[in-house]
Protein backbone atom coordinates (compact mmCIF):
# COMPACT_ATOMS: atom_id res chain seq x y z
CA UNK A 1 0.00 0.00 0.00
CA UNK A 2 2.79 2.33 0.98
CA UNK A 3 4.55 1.67 -2.26
CA UNK A 4 1.37 2.51 -4.11
CA UNK A 5 1.12 5.79 -2.24
CA UNK A 6 4.65 6.71 -3.15
CA UNK A 7 4.11 5.85 -6.74
CA UNK A 8 1.03 8.07 -6.85
CA UNK A 9 2.94 10.87 -5.28
CA UNK A 10 5.92 10.46 -7.52
CA UNK A 11 3.77 10.44 -10.59
CA UNK A 12 2.07 13.62 -9.43
CA UNK A 13 5.36 15.40 -9.37
CA UNK A 14 6.55 13.86 -12.59
CA UNK A 15 3.50 15.33 -14.24
CA UNK A 16 4.25 18.58 -12.49
CA UNK A 17 7.84 18.53 -13.66
CA UNK A 18 6.88 17.78 -17.22
CA UNK A 19 4.39 20.59 -17.24
CA UNK A 20 6.85 23.04 -15.77
CA UNK A 21 9.42 22.01 -18.37
CA UNK A 22 6.94 22.62 -21.15
CA UNK A 23 6.02 25.99 -19.76
CA UNK A 24 9.61 26.99 -19.24
CA UNK A 25 9.05 30.14 -21.24
CA UNK A 26 6.37 31.25 -18.78
CA UNK A 27 8.71 30.65 -15.77
CA UNK A 28 5.85 29.85 -13.48
CA UNK A 29 4.53 26.80 -11.75
CA UNK A 30 1.10 25.68 -12.83
CA UNK A 31 -1.68 27.23 -10.85
CA UNK A 32 -3.07 23.90 -9.72
CA UNK A 33 0.09 22.93 -7.83
CA UNK A 34 -0.24 25.19 -4.82
CA UNK A 35 -3.89 24.43 -4.06
CA UNK A 36 -3.21 20.73 -4.51
CA UNK A 37 -0.33 20.87 -2.08
CA UNK A 38 -2.45 22.85 0.33
CA UNK A 39 -5.19 20.24 0.09
CA UNK A 40 -2.67 17.46 0.61
CA UNK A 41 -1.30 19.17 3.69
CA UNK A 42 -4.81 19.57 5.03
CA UNK A 43 -5.57 15.90 4.54
CA UNK A 44 -2.26 14.92 6.06
CA UNK A 45 -3.06 16.90 9.17
CA UNK A 46 -6.50 15.35 9.31
CA UNK A 47 -5.11 11.82 8.97
CA UNK A 48 -2.76 12.33 11.93
CA UNK A 49 0.64 10.76 12.40
CA UNK A 50 1.59 7.60 10.55
CA UNK A 51 1.33 4.43 12.65
CA UNK A 52 4.63 2.91 13.83
CA UNK A 53 5.99 0.07 11.74
CA UNK A 54 7.90 -2.89 13.03
CA UNK A 55 11.51 -2.93 11.88
CA UNK A 56 11.03 -6.42 10.44
CA UNK A 57 8.58 -5.06 7.86
CA UNK A 58 11.38 -3.04 6.25
CA UNK A 59 12.98 -4.22 3.05
CA UNK A 60 16.42 -4.33 4.65
CA UNK A 61 15.85 -6.95 7.31
CA UNK A 62 17.59 -10.26 7.87
CA UNK A 63 16.54 -12.05 11.02
CA UNK A 64 19.44 -14.51 10.98
CA UNK A 65 21.96 -11.71 10.71
CA UNK A 66 20.25 -9.84 13.52
CA UNK A 67 20.38 -12.90 15.78
CA UNK A 68 24.05 -13.44 15.00
CA UNK A 69 24.85 -9.79 15.64
CA UNK A 70 22.94 -9.84 18.93
CA UNK A 71 25.16 -12.58 20.34
CA UNK A 72 28.32 -10.86 19.11
CA UNK A 73 27.16 -7.47 20.40
CA UNK A 74 26.81 -8.62 23.98
CA UNK A 75 29.93 -10.73 23.67
CA UNK A 76 28.43 -14.14 24.37
CA UNK A 77 28.34 -17.40 22.46
CA UNK A 78 24.82 -18.75 22.32
CA UNK A 79 23.39 -22.01 21.17
CA UNK A 80 21.44 -20.65 18.21
CA UNK A 81 18.30 -22.67 18.84
CA UNK A 82 18.24 -21.70 22.48
CA UNK A 83 18.68 -18.02 21.69
CA UNK A 84 15.92 -18.26 19.13
CA UNK A 85 13.67 -19.93 21.67
CA UNK A 86 14.43 -17.25 24.26
CA UNK A 87 13.09 -14.63 21.89
CA UNK A 88 9.81 -16.38 21.01
CA UNK A 89 7.05 -15.39 23.40
CA UNK A 90 3.93 -17.38 24.02
CA UNK A 91 1.81 -14.54 22.65
CA UNK A 92 3.61 -14.90 19.30
CA UNK A 93 2.99 -18.63 19.07
CA UNK A 94 -0.69 -18.11 19.89
CA UNK A 95 -0.90 -15.33 17.33
CA UNK A 96 0.60 -17.54 14.63
CA UNK A 97 -1.80 -20.34 15.46
CA UNK A 98 -4.75 -17.97 15.28
CA UNK A 99 -3.53 -16.80 11.90
CA UNK A 100 -3.49 -20.43 10.82
CA UNK A 101 0.20 -20.88 10.08
CA UNK A 102 1.49 -23.12 12.87
CA UNK A 103 4.20 -24.35 10.51
CA UNK A 104 5.87 -21.00 10.70
CA UNK A 105 9.63 -21.38 10.90
CA UNK A 106 9.74 -20.09 14.47
CA UNK A 107 6.93 -22.18 15.87
CA UNK A 108 9.08 -25.28 15.57
CA UNK A 109 10.61 -23.98 18.74
CA UNK A 110 8.76 -23.90 21.99
CA UNK A 111 8.01 -20.55 23.51
CA UNK A 112 10.20 -19.11 26.21
CA UNK A 113 7.95 -19.41 29.30
CA UNK A 114 10.15 -22.07 30.90
CA UNK A 115 13.28 -20.10 30.16
CA UNK A 116 11.72 -17.01 31.78
CA UNK A 117 11.11 -18.89 35.03
CA UNK A 118 14.58 -20.37 35.03
CA UNK A 119 16.17 -17.03 34.23
CA UNK A 120 14.33 -15.27 37.03
CA UNK A 121 15.67 -17.76 39.56
CA UNK A 122 19.17 -17.41 38.14
CA UNK A 123 19.12 -13.64 38.42
CA UNK A 124 17.75 -13.53 41.97
CA UNK A 125 20.16 -16.22 43.02
CA UNK A 126 23.14 -14.33 41.60
CA UNK A 127 22.20 -11.02 43.28
CA UNK A 128 21.62 -12.73 46.63
CA UNK A 129 24.93 -14.58 46.42
CA UNK A 130 26.79 -11.40 45.57
CA UNK A 131 25.43 -9.24 48.39
CA UNK A 132 24.46 -11.74 51.08
CA UNK A 133 27.78 -11.58 52.91
CA UNK A 134 28.35 -7.88 52.37
CA UNK A 135 25.10 -6.27 53.47
CA UNK A 136 22.35 -7.13 55.95
CA UNK A 137 19.35 -9.04 54.61
CA UNK A 138 17.17 -5.94 54.44
CA UNK A 139 19.56 -4.21 52.08
CA UNK A 140 20.18 -7.28 49.95
CA UNK A 141 16.48 -7.80 49.38
CA UNK A 142 16.05 -4.09 48.58
CA UNK A 143 18.81 -4.27 45.97
CA UNK A 144 17.27 -7.44 44.59
CA UNK A 145 13.83 -5.82 44.26
CA UNK A 146 15.35 -2.78 42.63
CA UNK A 147 17.34 -4.75 40.10
CA UNK A 148 14.65 -7.26 39.24
CA UNK A 149 11.95 -4.65 38.80
CA UNK A 150 10.18 -4.71 35.46
CA UNK A 151 11.44 -1.25 34.49
CA UNK A 152 15.07 -2.05 35.24
CA UNK A 153 15.07 -5.37 33.39
CA UNK A 154 13.29 -3.81 30.43
CA UNK A 155 15.84 -0.98 30.37
CA UNK A 156 18.74 -3.41 30.37
CA UNK A 157 17.13 -5.58 27.70
CA UNK A 158 16.37 -2.67 25.39
CA UNK A 159 19.99 -1.48 25.58
CA UNK A 160 21.11 -4.93 24.54
CA UNK A 161 19.13 -4.44 21.33
CA UNK A 162 16.42 -7.07 21.72
CA UNK A 163 13.55 -4.72 20.92
CA UNK A 164 13.47 -5.46 17.20
CA UNK A 165 14.22 -9.17 17.33
CA UNK A 166 11.68 -10.21 19.96
CA UNK A 167 8.87 -12.27 18.52
CA UNK A 168 5.72 -11.31 20.42
CA UNK A 169 2.20 -10.18 19.71
CA UNK A 170 2.44 -6.74 21.27
CA UNK A 171 3.78 -3.83 19.28
CA UNK A 172 5.37 -1.56 20.38
CA UNK A 173 6.96 -4.09 22.70
CA UNK A 174 5.75 -3.79 26.28
CA UNK A 175 7.99 -3.42 29.30
CA UNK A 176 6.99 -6.77 30.76
CA UNK A 177 7.83 -8.55 27.50
CA UNK A 178 11.27 -6.92 27.43
CA UNK A 179 11.90 -7.86 31.07
CA UNK A 180 10.87 -11.44 30.41
CA UNK A 181 13.12 -11.59 27.37
CA UNK A 182 16.11 -10.61 29.49
CA UNK A 183 15.31 -13.43 31.92
CA UNK A 184 14.91 -15.90 29.05
CA UNK A 185 18.20 -14.84 27.49
CA UNK A 186 19.95 -15.36 30.82
CA UNK A 187 18.54 -18.86 31.02
CA UNK A 188 19.50 -19.57 27.41
CA UNK A 189 23.05 -18.49 28.16
CA UNK A 190 23.09 -20.62 31.29
CA UNK A 191 22.06 -23.66 29.27
CA UNK A 192 24.69 -22.91 26.64
CA UNK A 193 27.55 -22.18 28.99
CA UNK A 194 27.03 -22.22 32.76
CA UNK A 195 30.32 -20.48 33.52
CA UNK A 196 29.35 -17.27 31.73
CA UNK A 197 25.99 -16.70 33.46
CA UNK A 198 27.27 -14.94 36.57
CA UNK A 199 29.53 -12.69 34.54
CA UNK A 200 26.68 -11.86 32.20
CA UNK A 201 24.35 -10.88 35.06
CA UNK A 202 27.11 -8.87 36.73
CA UNK A 203 28.03 -6.99 33.58
CA UNK A 204 24.57 -6.13 32.38
CA UNK A 205 22.28 -6.02 35.39
CA UNK A 206 24.24 -5.56 38.60
CA UNK A 207 26.37 -2.79 37.10
CA UNK A 208 23.21 -0.69 36.99
CA UNK A 209 23.59 0.15 40.69
CA UNK A 210 26.94 1.74 39.92
CA UNK A 211 27.03 5.31 41.26
CA UNK A 212 23.60 4.97 42.85
CA UNK A 213 23.08 6.13 46.40
CA UNK A 214 22.06 3.26 48.65
CA UNK A 215 19.06 5.18 49.95
CA UNK A 216 17.79 5.67 46.40
CA UNK A 217 17.50 1.89 46.23
CA UNK A 218 16.63 1.11 49.83
CA UNK A 219 13.69 2.99 51.30
CA UNK A 220 14.19 2.92 55.10
CA UNK A 221 10.95 3.37 57.01
CA UNK A 222 12.09 4.12 60.60
CA UNK A 223 15.78 4.93 60.32
CA UNK A 224 16.36 5.72 64.01
CA UNK A 225 14.88 2.47 65.27
CA UNK A 226 16.76 0.53 62.65
CA UNK A 227 19.98 2.27 63.65
CA UNK A 228 19.45 1.30 67.28
CA UNK A 229 18.87 -2.28 66.22
CA UNK A 230 21.86 -2.43 63.86
CA UNK A 231 24.23 -0.76 66.31
CA UNK A 232 23.26 -3.23 69.01
CA UNK A 233 24.38 -6.01 66.68
CA UNK A 234 27.68 -4.19 66.19
CA UNK A 235 28.10 -3.62 69.93
CA UNK A 236 27.48 0.12 69.92
CA UNK A 237 25.00 1.19 72.59
CA UNK A 238 23.66 4.32 74.32
CA UNK A 239 22.92 6.34 71.24
CA UNK A 240 22.20 9.90 72.13
CA UNK A 241 20.73 12.54 69.84
CA UNK A 242 21.91 16.11 70.33
CA UNK A 243 20.79 19.31 68.74
CA UNK A 244 24.00 20.76 67.33
CA UNK A 245 22.65 23.83 65.60
CA UNK A 246 19.45 25.54 64.78
CA UNK A 247 18.60 28.49 62.67
CA UNK A 248 15.57 30.50 61.60
CA UNK A 249 13.18 28.61 63.84
CA UNK A 250 9.54 29.71 63.61
CA UNK A 251 10.07 30.71 59.98
CA UNK A 252 9.50 28.87 56.73
CA UNK A 253 13.26 28.37 56.38
CA UNK A 254 13.65 26.76 59.80
CA UNK A 255 16.48 24.25 59.94
CA UNK A 256 18.05 22.09 62.56
CA UNK A 257 21.21 20.05 62.76
CA UNK A 258 21.15 16.91 64.87
CA UNK A 259 24.13 14.75 65.71
CA UNK A 260 23.93 11.19 67.00
CA UNK A 261 26.57 10.35 69.58
CA UNK A 262 27.60 7.26 71.42
CA UNK A 263 30.20 7.59 74.16
CA UNK A 264 31.01 11.14 72.99
CA UNK A 265 31.78 9.76 69.52
CA UNK A 266 29.88 11.15 66.56
CA UNK A 267 28.00 8.39 64.69
CA UNK A 268 26.19 10.53 62.18
CA UNK A 269 24.98 14.03 61.54
CA UNK A 270 21.93 15.26 59.68
CA UNK A 271 19.88 18.29 58.77
CA UNK A 272 16.18 18.86 58.51
CA UNK A 273 13.36 21.37 58.65
CA UNK A 274 12.28 19.97 62.02
CA UNK A 275 14.13 18.21 64.80
CA UNK A 276 12.46 14.88 63.96
CA UNK A 277 13.45 14.94 60.29
CA UNK A 278 16.96 16.04 61.25
CA UNK A 279 17.19 13.10 63.62
CA UNK A 280 16.07 10.71 60.88
CA UNK A 281 18.59 12.11 58.42
CA UNK A 282 21.27 11.74 61.06
CA UNK A 283 20.20 8.14 61.59
CA UNK A 284 20.51 7.46 57.86
CA UNK A 285 23.98 9.00 57.89
CA UNK A 286 24.92 6.85 60.89
CA UNK A 287 23.60 3.69 59.16
CA UNK A 288 25.64 4.51 56.07
CA UNK A 289 28.80 4.91 58.14
CA UNK A 290 28.07 1.86 60.28
CA UNK A 291 27.60 -0.44 57.30
CA UNK A 292 30.35 1.06 55.12
CA UNK A 293 28.01 1.39 52.17
CA UNK A 294 29.92 1.91 49.02
CA UNK A 295 26.97 1.47 46.67
Amino acid sequence: MALFRYSVYRSLFKVCQQISQKQLAARTISRWVAPTLRELEKRRKKAGPKPLQHRSTFLEWNYDAELYAFGKRIGEEFNRDLLQRALVHKSYVIQQEMKGNPNDSFSNFEDNSELIKEGENLIVDRIMRKYKDVYPNLVTSAICTYLTSKTMLAHVASYMGVKDIILCADFPVEESTLANTFKAITAALNQTNTDRTDMFIDDFLICQIHNKDIFEIWDVKNPYELLVQLSKEKGVSDIEARLCNQSASNTILANYQVGLYSNKKLLGIGWGESIDTAKETAALDAIRKLQNFSV
Binding site: R5, R10, R43, A47, P49, L59, R73, I74, D203
Partner: protein, 278 residues
Amino acid sequence: MYEDICEGMVLHGEIIHQDDEAILMRLIEKVTAKKSNLVTPSTTCQPNDLDELTPEILPSTSHDADYYEHVGMCYPNASDASWKPGFKCVLNMSNSHLFLVPKFIKTPSQNGVGRYVCQLQRVVLKFCKSIGNCRGMREFIEYDLVNYAKENPGTVVYLKPRRHRGPVICAEYLNGEKQTIFCHNFSREEIGKWLNLVKTQSGNHDGTRLRKLWHTDYPSIQGPWTPYTFRDPNLNLVEFPNSDLSRPLNQPKTATEELLEIFKKQQVDSSLENNRAE
Protein backbone atom coordinates in the same frame (compact mmCIF):
# COMPACT_ATOMS: atom_id res chain seq x y z
CA MET B 1 7.97 54.76 -11.51
CA TYR B 2 5.28 52.41 -12.68
CA GLU B 3 7.81 50.32 -14.50
CA ASP B 4 9.96 50.13 -11.42
CA ILE B 5 7.07 48.83 -9.40
CA CYS B 6 6.23 46.35 -12.11
CA GLU B 7 9.83 45.22 -12.25
CA GLY B 8 9.86 44.84 -8.50
CA MET B 9 6.74 42.76 -8.66
CA VAL B 10 8.18 40.60 -11.35
CA LEU B 11 11.31 40.15 -9.33
CA HIS B 12 9.25 39.39 -6.31
CA GLY B 13 7.26 36.93 -8.34
CA GLU B 14 10.44 35.25 -9.45
CA ILE B 15 11.67 34.93 -5.94
CA ILE B 16 8.45 33.30 -4.87
CA HIS B 17 8.64 31.09 -7.89
CA GLN B 18 12.11 29.95 -6.98
CA ASP B 19 11.04 29.20 -3.46
CA ASP B 20 8.16 27.13 -4.72
CA GLU B 21 10.42 25.24 -7.01
CA ALA B 22 12.75 24.59 -4.12
CA ILE B 23 9.87 23.18 -2.11
CA LEU B 24 8.80 21.03 -5.01
CA MET B 25 12.31 19.75 -5.57
CA ARG B 26 12.52 18.95 -1.93
CA LEU B 27 9.29 17.05 -2.08
CA ILE B 28 10.43 15.10 -5.08
CA GLU B 29 13.67 14.29 -3.32
CA LYS B 30 11.77 13.21 -0.24
CA VAL B 31 9.52 10.99 -2.27
CA THR B 32 12.42 9.43 -4.07
CA ALA B 33 14.39 9.02 -0.87
CA LYS B 34 11.61 7.09 0.80
CA LYS B 35 11.14 4.63 -1.99
CA SER B 36 12.94 1.51 -2.98
CA ASN B 37 13.61 0.71 -6.59
CA LEU B 38 10.79 -1.79 -6.70
CA VAL B 39 8.13 0.83 -7.29
CA THR B 40 6.27 0.82 -10.55
CA PRO B 41 5.54 4.40 -11.50
CA SER B 42 1.99 5.11 -12.52
CA THR B 43 1.24 8.10 -14.64
CA THR B 44 -2.29 8.89 -13.64
CA CYS B 45 -3.46 10.32 -10.41
CA GLN B 46 -7.02 9.82 -9.28
CA PRO B 47 -8.49 12.30 -6.81
CA ASN B 48 -9.34 9.46 -4.47
CA ASP B 49 -5.74 8.40 -4.33
CA LEU B 50 -4.82 11.65 -2.69
CA ASP B 51 -6.26 10.38 0.59
CA GLU B 52 -3.67 7.69 0.60
CA LEU B 53 -0.71 10.01 0.53
CA THR B 54 1.51 9.49 3.47
CA PRO B 55 2.26 12.40 5.74
CA GLU B 56 6.02 12.30 5.84
CA ILE B 57 6.49 13.01 2.17
CA LEU B 58 4.93 16.43 2.50
CA PRO B 59 6.96 19.45 3.50
CA SER B 60 7.58 19.50 7.18
CA THR B 61 7.75 22.79 9.02
CA SER B 62 11.10 22.01 10.59
CA HIS B 63 13.85 21.35 8.12
CA ASP B 64 15.46 18.01 8.56
CA ALA B 65 18.46 16.32 7.07
CA ASP B 66 16.72 15.95 3.73
CA TYR B 67 16.43 19.67 3.51
CA TYR B 68 20.08 20.30 4.18
CA GLU B 69 20.89 17.83 1.48
CA HIS B 70 18.63 19.61 -0.93
CA VAL B 71 19.89 23.14 -0.40
CA GLY B 72 23.37 21.81 -0.91
CA MET B 73 24.79 22.83 2.40
CA CYS B 74 27.10 20.85 4.54
CA TYR B 75 25.12 19.16 7.21
CA PRO B 76 26.54 20.26 10.56
CA ASN B 77 27.58 17.42 12.79
CA ALA B 78 29.12 17.06 16.23
CA SER B 79 32.41 15.62 15.13
CA ASP B 80 32.47 16.63 11.57
CA ALA B 81 34.73 14.90 9.16
CA SER B 82 32.91 16.12 6.11
CA TRP B 83 33.56 19.85 6.21
CA LYS B 84 35.19 20.50 2.94
CA PRO B 85 37.04 23.75 2.38
CA GLY B 86 35.45 25.60 -0.46
CA PHE B 87 32.11 23.88 -0.03
CA LYS B 88 29.44 26.52 -0.11
CA CYS B 89 27.69 26.86 3.22
CA VAL B 90 24.28 28.52 3.28
CA LEU B 91 22.89 29.64 6.60
CA ASN B 92 19.28 28.79 7.06
CA MET B 93 17.87 31.60 9.15
CA SER B 94 14.77 29.90 10.44
CA ASN B 95 14.25 30.42 14.12
CA SER B 96 14.47 26.76 15.02
CA HIS B 97 17.95 26.59 13.57
CA LEU B 98 19.52 29.51 15.35
CA PHE B 99 20.27 27.35 18.35
CA LEU B 100 21.51 23.84 18.75
CA VAL B 101 19.94 21.62 21.35
CA PRO B 102 22.15 21.59 24.45
CA LYS B 103 23.27 18.18 25.70
CA PHE B 104 25.49 16.73 28.38
CA ILE B 105 28.04 13.97 27.97
CA LYS B 106 26.53 10.74 29.17
CA THR B 107 26.98 7.03 28.89
CA PRO B 108 23.93 5.01 27.94
CA SER B 109 22.93 2.36 30.47
CA GLN B 110 26.28 2.24 32.37
CA ASN B 111 27.99 1.09 29.20
CA GLY B 112 31.55 0.03 29.93
CA VAL B 113 31.07 -0.48 33.67
CA GLY B 114 30.47 -4.15 33.08
CA ARG B 115 31.45 -4.62 29.48
CA TYR B 116 31.42 -2.39 26.43
CA VAL B 117 28.54 -2.77 24.02
CA CYS B 118 28.77 -1.08 20.63
CA GLN B 119 25.73 1.19 20.48
CA LEU B 120 25.36 0.96 16.72
CA GLN B 121 22.95 -1.87 16.11
CA ARG B 122 22.60 -1.69 12.36
CA VAL B 123 23.69 0.42 9.45
CA VAL B 124 22.17 0.59 5.97
CA LEU B 125 24.27 1.75 3.05
CA LYS B 126 22.05 3.03 0.27
CA PHE B 127 23.61 3.63 -3.11
CA CYS B 128 23.12 3.50 -6.85
CA LYS B 129 25.08 1.09 -9.00
CA SER B 130 25.66 3.53 -11.85
CA ILE B 131 25.32 7.14 -10.69
CA GLY B 132 28.52 9.16 -10.37
CA ASN B 133 28.09 10.58 -6.89
CA CYS B 134 27.97 7.06 -5.44
CA ARG B 135 31.45 6.18 -6.68
CA GLY B 136 33.10 6.50 -3.29
CA MET B 137 30.38 4.44 -1.69
CA ARG B 138 30.69 1.72 -4.33
CA GLU B 139 34.47 1.63 -3.89
CA PHE B 140 34.06 1.38 -0.14
CA ILE B 141 31.66 -1.50 -0.57
CA GLU B 142 33.98 -3.21 -2.99
CA TYR B 143 37.17 -2.92 -0.97
CA ASP B 144 36.50 -2.12 2.69
CA LEU B 145 33.03 -3.25 3.62
CA VAL B 146 33.84 -6.87 4.34
CA ASN B 147 36.59 -5.80 6.73
CA TYR B 148 34.27 -3.30 8.39
CA ALA B 149 31.63 -5.99 8.91
CA LYS B 150 34.24 -8.42 10.23
CA GLU B 151 35.58 -5.88 12.70
CA ASN B 152 32.08 -5.10 13.95
CA PRO B 153 30.21 -8.37 14.20
CA GLY B 154 27.73 -6.74 16.60
CA THR B 155 26.49 -4.41 13.89
CA VAL B 156 24.26 -5.63 11.10
CA VAL B 157 25.27 -4.05 7.80
CA TYR B 158 22.67 -3.87 5.05
CA LEU B 159 23.22 -2.79 1.47
CA LYS B 160 20.38 -1.22 -0.41
CA PRO B 161 21.01 -0.53 -4.08
CA ARG B 162 18.56 1.92 -5.58
CA ARG B 163 18.55 3.32 -9.08
CA HIS B 164 19.54 6.95 -9.68
CA ARG B 165 19.62 8.04 -6.09
CA GLY B 166 22.37 9.57 -4.01
CA PRO B 167 24.43 7.60 -1.49
CA VAL B 168 23.17 7.55 2.09
CA ILE B 169 24.39 6.02 5.34
CA CYS B 170 21.50 5.21 7.63
CA ALA B 171 22.56 4.30 11.16
CA GLU B 172 20.34 2.88 13.89
CA TYR B 173 21.41 2.98 17.51
CA LEU B 174 20.45 0.91 20.53
CA ASN B 175 18.60 3.83 22.07
CA GLY B 176 16.23 3.81 19.11
CA GLU B 177 17.69 6.86 17.41
CA LYS B 178 18.30 6.92 13.69
CA GLN B 179 20.87 8.98 11.86
CA THR B 180 20.97 9.70 8.15
CA ILE B 181 24.19 10.87 6.54
CA PHE B 182 24.11 11.98 2.93
CA CYS B 183 27.35 11.03 1.20
CA HIS B 184 27.05 12.87 -2.10
CA ASN B 185 30.42 12.67 -3.89
CA PHE B 186 32.17 11.33 -0.79
CA SER B 187 35.39 9.48 -1.37
CA ARG B 188 36.00 5.95 -0.16
CA GLU B 189 38.07 7.22 2.79
CA GLU B 190 35.38 9.69 3.81
CA ILE B 191 32.77 6.97 3.84
CA GLY B 192 35.08 4.91 6.05
CA LYS B 193 35.51 7.83 8.44
CA TRP B 194 31.80 8.45 8.69
CA LEU B 195 31.14 4.78 9.33
CA ASN B 196 33.77 4.85 12.03
CA LEU B 197 32.10 7.86 13.62
CA VAL B 198 28.75 6.14 13.54
CA LYS B 199 30.30 3.06 15.12
CA THR B 200 31.80 4.99 18.01
CA GLN B 201 28.80 7.20 18.76
CA SER B 202 26.21 6.36 21.38
CA GLY B 203 23.33 7.97 19.49
CA ASN B 204 22.41 10.59 16.97
CA HIS B 205 24.11 13.80 18.06
CA ASP B 206 23.05 15.86 15.05
CA GLY B 207 21.91 19.37 15.82
CA THR B 208 23.15 19.31 19.38
CA ARG B 209 25.98 20.92 21.27
CA LEU B 210 27.70 19.82 24.44
CA ARG B 211 27.18 22.16 27.36
CA LYS B 212 30.32 20.91 29.03
CA LEU B 213 33.20 18.90 27.65
CA TRP B 214 33.54 16.98 30.91
CA HIS B 215 31.32 15.14 33.33
CA THR B 216 31.61 14.36 37.01
CA ASP B 217 29.39 12.36 39.30
CA TYR B 218 30.61 14.44 42.25
CA PRO B 219 30.23 18.11 41.40
CA SER B 220 30.93 19.02 45.05
CA ILE B 221 33.20 17.11 47.39
CA GLN B 222 32.35 19.41 50.27
CA GLY B 223 28.62 18.85 50.01
CA PRO B 224 25.79 21.36 49.94
CA TRP B 225 26.09 24.57 51.90
CA THR B 226 24.25 24.79 55.21
CA PRO B 227 23.98 27.75 57.56
CA TYR B 228 26.54 25.94 59.76
CA THR B 229 29.25 25.57 57.11
CA PHE B 230 32.28 27.83 57.86
CA ARG B 231 30.69 29.15 61.03
CA ASP B 232 33.07 30.90 63.42
CA PRO B 233 33.82 28.42 66.24
CA ASN B 234 33.95 31.36 68.71
CA LEU B 235 30.20 31.55 68.40
CA ASN B 236 29.90 28.27 70.32
CA LEU B 237 31.01 29.96 73.55
CA VAL B 238 29.15 33.25 73.23
CA GLU B 239 26.43 34.05 75.75
CA PHE B 240 23.36 35.77 74.49
CA PRO B 241 22.18 38.51 74.54
CA ASN B 242 25.50 39.90 73.37
CA SER B 243 25.93 43.63 72.73
CA ASP B 244 28.78 43.19 70.23
CA LEU B 245 26.93 40.68 68.08
CA SER B 246 23.69 42.63 68.30
CA ARG B 247 25.23 45.62 66.54
CA PRO B 248 24.60 46.03 62.83
CA LEU B 249 27.61 44.80 60.85
CA ASN B 250 27.68 47.68 58.40
CA GLN B 251 27.44 50.54 60.92
CA PRO B 252 29.87 53.34 59.95
CA LYS B 253 32.32 54.74 62.50
CA THR B 254 31.27 57.80 64.47
CA ALA B 255 33.35 60.99 64.40
CA THR B 256 34.41 60.42 68.04
CA GLU B 257 35.66 56.92 67.22
CA GLU B 258 37.63 58.21 64.26
CA LEU B 259 39.19 60.98 66.37
CA LEU B 260 40.14 58.46 69.02
CA GLU B 261 41.76 56.28 66.40
CA ILE B 262 43.79 59.19 65.01
CA PHE B 263 44.88 60.08 68.54
CA LYS B 264 46.00 56.54 69.25
CA LYS B 265 47.93 56.39 66.00
CA GLN B 266 49.70 59.66 66.83
CA GLN B 267 50.69 58.29 70.21
CA VAL B 268 52.10 55.12 68.68
CA ASP B 269 54.06 57.13 66.10
CA SER B 270 55.52 59.48 68.72
CA SER B 271 56.58 56.57 70.94
CA LEU B 272 58.32 54.97 67.94
CA GLU B 273 60.21 58.22 67.22
CA ASN B 274 61.25 58.44 70.87
CA ASN B 275 62.59 54.89 70.69
CA ARG B 276 64.62 55.71 67.59
CA ALA B 277 66.02 58.87 69.22
CA GLU B 278 67.20 56.86 72.19
